[in-house]
């Protein structure tokens, strides 16, 4: 394979900015779906489309890695970050899909709170990956993602505990909502993983 000597580093930055945008949009649509269940104005297909777009972006990043001699950061860091942001979108899509799969009849307040945290975390992630060119505001964004992940942990723990406070909660409710709470928690944790990868890039390149 011939590697191009003319650097296309700008395209890496553009792809990561696009990845951040897609993750944030997927989280926003999912939050709306959770608020509006059982009749969300946004079909799951739109979230799925974003998940496919995220996959395309990852392919774009790996395509560049395979053809570019010069990269703005370590190749391993670039591929790790691309996968990490894609994971966020995958987990968001999975949580959103559970609303249809489990025929959720009404939201739970704790899940709506998790969605709020997820949207904020994705907003900060978008801010972070969009600032890879000059690192402006990146440290604050990474710290905020970590804070939101901690908050997400507390909300998830309380949410799951609430299912077990009364022995007579429907088993179906417990199964559904434990899965949903855990899926949203995975998505928030994935934001922190991606943020951590951004942090590593900053450490090596600042």
């Amino acid at each position: 394979m011939r590697l191009a000597l003319v650097p296309r580093t700008t395209e890496f930055y553009e792809l990561f900015a696009a990845a951040g945008r897609v993750a944030h949009e997927a989280a926003r649509l999912t939050e709306t779906r959770f608020r509006e269940v059982p009749e969300p104005s946004i079909p799951q297909a739109r979230v799925k489309d974003l998940e496919r777009e995220a996959d395309e972006i990852v392919r774009g990043v790996f395509g560049l890695l395979n053809t570019q001699y010069v990269t703005p950061f370590d190749r391993e860091d670039i591929s790790e970050l691309a996968r990490a942001v894609d994971d966020v979108v995958d987990y968001v899509e999975e949580a959103s899909d559970l609303l249809d799969l489990y025929k959720i009849e009404a939201p739970m307040e704790q899940a709506i709170e998790q969605c709020r945290i997820l949207v904020e975390a994705c907003a900060q992630l978008e801010r972070a990956v969009s600032s890879l060119r000059n690192f402006r505001g990146i440290d604050e964004a990474i710290l905020e993602i970590k804070r939101l992940e901690d908050e997400g942990d507390r909300v998830a723990r309380d949410a799951i505990a609430s299912l077990f406070e009364d022995e007579d909660v429907s088993p179906r409710t417990m199964i559904r909502w434990k899965d949903v709470f855990e899926a949203l928690e995975r998505a928030i944790d994935a934001c922190e993983t991606a943020g951590h990868t951004v942090g590593n890039i900053v450490l090596k390149n600042a």
Binding site: E105, M108, E165, D168
Partner: protein, 226 residues
């Protein structure tokens, strides 16, 4: 109505109250422990629990252990402050020795109207809800409701204008305890409200008691909102 009176079994005051209620046609058991009552509550064979406020039981504990059962506190001596606290804690009613015997029995009889009667058709003014036939009607005209909406309407109609706590409404419609944060009641009440506004309009409404639950108001039923 099947009533559990939680008090010392050799307490003459408890015995007197129990006898008055039996004379009025209610089934009454006096017990100092709750054990078998929990099973009766879960299988729908217990309608109300009257507990001696000095017995150590609390409204919250009884609500948790006897789901879907009306909880009535019994005070040996009347105290405004205690009555207020018991209602704030969620008691369905408070009896005290300052009440005459007839008033005590009448209050329990009024509670019997609110005891759940799953599957029984209920009429509330021009509103009729018949679970067995799967229909809700207004002046005989069928209302296009889903089964869930009908079940919610049935539970509210049974309460005849009294506020039904969210948790109790959930229990009656879904048959299980409501998990904290579950908004199924709110979502279904909203949908029902919207449909009733279109199908019937002003004569019927569902009012919210913030932080507590909902009550059905039917203008032609002659029952005013509490």
């Amino acid at each position: 109505m099947q009533v559990l009176l939680l008090a010392e079994t050799d307490d003459p005051a408890a015995g007197g109250l129990a006898q008055r209620l039996r004379d009025a046609g209610h089934g009454v058991q006096i017990a100092s422990a709750i054990g078998p009552a929990e099973l009766a509550a879960r299988s729908g064979r217990l309608d109300a629990a009257i507990f001696d406020a000095l017995s150590g039981w609390t409204v919250g504990e009884l609500r948790r252990r006897l789901p879907d059962v009306l909880v009535v506190a019994w005070l040996r001596e009347h105290s405004d402050a205690q009555v207020g606290e018991l209602f704030s804690a969620g008691a369905d009613d408070v009896l005290h020795r300052g009440m005459g015997a007839r008033e005590q029995v009448a209050r329990v009889a009024a509670l019997a109207e609110r005891a759940p009667r799953a599957g029984i058709a209920v009429a509330f003014g021009p509103l009729g809800v018949d679970p067995e036939r799967g229909e809700a009607t207004w002046h005989g005209r069928r209302l296009p409701l889903t089964q869930r909406e009908r079940d919610v309407l049935h539970a509210l109609a049974e309460a005849r204008g009294a506020t039904l706590r969210r948790e109790l409404l959930y229990r009656r419609v879904w048959g299980y305890a409501m998990a904290r944060g579950d908004r199924a009641v709110d979502v279904n009440v909203k949908r029902l409200r919207d449909k009733l506004a279109i199908e019937v309009g002003a004569p019927i409404s569902i009012e919210t008691e913030p932080g507590v639950g909902y009550r059905l108001v039917v203008a032609e039923a002659g029952v005013t909102a509490l």
